[in-house]
Symmetry: C2
Subunit: 166 residues, 2 copies
């Protein structure tokens, strides 16, 4: 029987894992040609969203105190810079590999974080702020990043042929 | 000082509330003409997503044991039926009003749900399944519906002029 604390953590990680799985499945189902298209006219291309999600997830490693980012160069290319501002971006196959490696590293670390550790501060909040706002903990970062992923997944779905309403 | 249980509930409700606020602000900033457009060629129109989110949130009232749906007719129009299959849909102004009323009703009910009640089963899971899967509680439904909202919010952003990358 799980404690209520273990239950919260499972609820949050289950939502994270299902969105990673859905996004993985979508990236695997999209051709390079489809990933070079814009999700909607004038919007981010699939390749940019792939790089953006990889960079944001990679940044979770230092934010959660799990180590250094694996691909720190992606942040400037896919977070600081808007799409089409940079021509020196990695290939889709390299980005897909980085996406996989970053998420695997997170999954592996998550399995070793203790329940109490999930409720400690992450590294984007100061000690003082955390004392006032204890909800800004590591588990809350997963809730927020899952919503961020869901937001972009809703856009990436538009890269598939509109044979049905998505 | 909040208990960890109260803290977790706050984390989940804060994420819900911020996504409701962002979606409200977006719907308020979009003209009727913009809401009649497709989020991407061949995809759902803004008016459909407005009705869809309203119907899904309205259904949360019975699922959470908070009462009957306020606009049960919206479910068949915006969940069971795809976009453009039905011509007898409400006006944008009526849908915007329903969207507001449904979310206000949820907010008002949420303020009166006790911490323990959030961890009881919702009405889309059987007693037997809940005994095996206690994470399928009322709070988990909020986590899932927040991700659903974030997913469609990412699409609705495309109804704004692409003056910047979204």
């Amino acid at each position: 029987m799980k404690t209520q604390q273990e239950l919260f953590i499972k609820m949050v990680l289950d939502a994270w894992n299902i969105h990673i799985k859905r996004t993985d499945d979508l990236f695997n189902s999209l051709s390079d040609e489809q990933l070079m298209r814009e999700a909607s006219p004038g919007r981010n291309r699939g390749i940019y969203l792939l790089g953006h999600l990889t960079a944001i997830h990679d940044k979770m490693l230092p934010l959660l105190g799990l180590g250094e980012s694996l691909y720190p160069e992606l942040y400037e290319l896919f977070v600081t810079s808007p799409d089409k501002a940079r021509t020196d971006i990695p290939s889709i196959s390299d980005l897909k590999l980085s996406w996989k490696k970053v998420n695997s590293a997170l999954t592996e670390h998550f399995s070793r974080i203790t329940p109490d550790e999930w409720f400690r501060k992450h590294n984007a909040v100061s000690e003082d702020d955390f004392a006032r706002e204890p909800h800004r903990n590591k588990l809350n970062l997963i809730i927020n990043r899952t919503n961020h992923l869901a937001n972009h997944l809703g856009q990436l779905i538009f890269l598939k042929p509109p044979n049905r309403q998505d």
